[in-house]
Subunit: 398 residues, 2 copies
């Protein structure tokens, strides 16, 4: 076999630029398609793992306050952008296990997103209320979007930030009750912003459907959801599923479920009911409630196995030692697992042959075969919470 | 920032094993999430490209007969498995641009698949009729499945091979009119095989829906399709969409469309009509035909933009200089492009900001922005046909 000359010279040059010597010995040439990272909450560190051998590779430490930390990936699946609660934004090379850049971009941050083309990283902030936009290649500041509302120029806390097709970011203003759509396709330094006012009281979280069409925000101050169809912005936001929220003889809510905790499978949506021991099944065609599935406790995340045959659900305290597995064909709970105390997060490998679970209080991440429900292995991790695998780099809204 | 000790020793060890020295200088440490390969048909070579800078990286030559060659990826997105028409199966390291292994596994081969867990590579063959199974790590032979049928032990040509959840492969027997489901989850050397007989005359190609639930085969000898619901194997195969095929005043068929050329978007399926200048729109709920969209010529591939808002369609000779873009919101042709003569294949980046087109007769691959329909760049390629990007590693059936 001959090997062509194209790019080989460039490869050598890039190697020197990237690594220098003698650091190269510590850097393993490998694909990044089977890599992932696990948030270690108490120490504020990031564990880099791979799912082929199901092993730990490296740990990156001293990354700050990792309560509610979340992760997005660069389009080449090499760099993890980690959003800390303390406003810290880190760009981490998961091949080498080093922090390439780190900025304290705000005082109180709740999440981020990466643009469709991978060039922009956005962070939503409580303090100061707004969205900051950075270049993904070096975390250089590109733009600031203050979430001003009302006549006195007050700043609203920003939640539910997601990326959308057409190099857009969509987010909600908790204090203002607004949804903004920011389009960066022209000049990223001055995005075109479309503001929807009076969408409902206190949007507290949001999701975008896997196709990037529907943006749905949960309302903390009212008993329902608000829907924006990005294919028909002229129609504006509309209320759906009144009764989804905390209404109808509300139970004490131990933890508001994340809307990212919704699952889409077999043409249906599966939603953790707020404060209720139920999983709501909704048909997006007309946003009709199909049924409610009784559960073991208050659901937090509902995650679909990639083939859509199962929904895995975890629970709020005091039931957070349990996972229930719903069979999408029968819409009933088919299995129950007791991995241990503090099951905070679940992540499937992209074709569904493995399910990874964070068991915080036992300092363990368990890997299950979701077809046999056999535990394949366990990995040591210090108070693990979020698990994020690199396949997310290739999905809208993730 | 400190870097933990976990796996660093292992990394060094693996580095030596993988590369040896001094070869390392020619190997660029990089993520594999933005890589892809392009089949160069006449020379039988593979062009390795990346979509962040939209450049060519390397070429791997002398790979045999590449008419109808197809590609699958290892789960780490580092290795491309290339299936040549001549029965050649090559395992190519796209980080280094070298052929790791190559076997001539049969005399006449039509396609392959990789198992859900990435450990097995399957190839479907005309001669000898059957399926060969190899270890993905070294292409060592694991099992042979002769496609025997009838009383005299004749061998059928095998088509429509796909992977399915549960470490299964599904394929069709053209001469026998059968569909087989082979389960490798127990002992890969002796899979459990479920045979469905009399499914219809001459299944010539097949697809599996993106969730891995429905296997659909096209019938060359009859005017319709056959559907197998992998969630309900007891129900067995059933006929759907009689009239899809070449019936009702058939036109001359210049090229049978690939069923892999079906697109799923917005809850609907979009099918190239066989021999007709139409795109069929089908609702999988009941497999009802919703409408037919008039087209410029005989469609070959219908490919959905990842957000499902557009379907891009290419055409058979003599109309293969054209792309038509269907707006899924209106179900009408919204745009037409004339990239040049011999547009053979289309591939989107996984979040939909780029569309790559092979323009065979002009030895060019064009990259478009599907939102503005602007041509972003062109890359030289020698008689390019199939374009396969590494995001496919993370999708069922791709």
């Amino acid at each position: 076999m001959k090997r062509g000359a194209i790019g080989v010279g460039a490869a050598v040059f890039a190697l020197v630029l990237l690594l220098g010597f003698p650091g190269v010995q510590a850097d393993e040439l490998r694909g990044t398609g089977d890599l992932g990272v696990i948030i270690e909450r108490e120490p504020g560190s990031l564990l880099i793992v791979e799912s082929t051998g199901k092993t730990r590779l490296m740990r990156v430490e001293d990354l700050g306050d990792f309560s509610h930390a979340s992760v997005k990936y660069s389009r080449d699946a090499r760099y993890a952008f980690v959003f800390g609660r303390d406003g810290g934004l880190s760009r981490i090379d998961i091949l080498r296990g080093v922090v390439e850049e780190r900025v304290m971009q705000a005082g109180n941050s709740v999440g981020g997103a990466i643009s469709q083309d991978g060039t922009l990283v956005a962070v939503s902030n409580y303090d100061p209320g707004g969205v900051h936009i950075f270049r993904s290649e070096d975390l250089g500041l590109v733009a600031k979007i203050p979430a001003e509302y009302g006549d006195e120029g007050k700043l609203s806390r920003v939640v539910g930030l997601v990326d959308a097709p057409g190099k857009r970011f969509v987010f909600s203003l908790f204090d203002a009750g607004e949804i903004w759509v920011a389009d960066f396709s022209d000049d990223p330094r001055s995005p075109d912003i479309l503001r929807f006012r009076d969408v409902g009281r206190q949007p507290y979280d949001a999701l975008i459907t896997p196709d990037g069409r529907y943006y749905i925000a949960g309302l903390f101050g009212e008993d329902g959801l608000v829907l924006l169809d990005l294919w028909d912005l002229d129609a504006g936001p509309k209320r759906i599923m009144d009764g989804y929220g905390r209404g109808e003889e509300p139970l004490p809510v131990f933890k508001m479920p994340h809307l990212e905790g919704w699952a889409a499978a077999n043409g249906l949506l599966f939603l953790p009911a707020v404060g209720r021991h139920e999983l709501l099944v909704v048909n997006p065609d007309g946003w009709r409630e199909v049924t409610r599935i009784p559960l073991h406790g208050q659901p937090i995340f509902a995650v679909a196995r990639p083939d859509g045959r199962q929904i895995w659900v975890n629970f709020a305290f005091p039931d957070n030692d349990t996972i229930q597995v719903v069979d999408v064909a029968t819409l009933e709970v088919a299995h129950e697992l007791k991995p241990g105390s503090g099951v905070l997060h679940m992540e499937f490998t992209p074709r569904g042959e493995q399910a990874w679970l964070s068991v915080r209080d036992e300092n363990r991440v368990d890997v299950y075969d979701p077809h046999t429900l056999e535990r394949l292995t366990s990995l040591e991790a210090t108070t693990p919470s979020g698990i994020f695998m690199t396949w997310r780099a290739h999905r809208i809204g993730l």
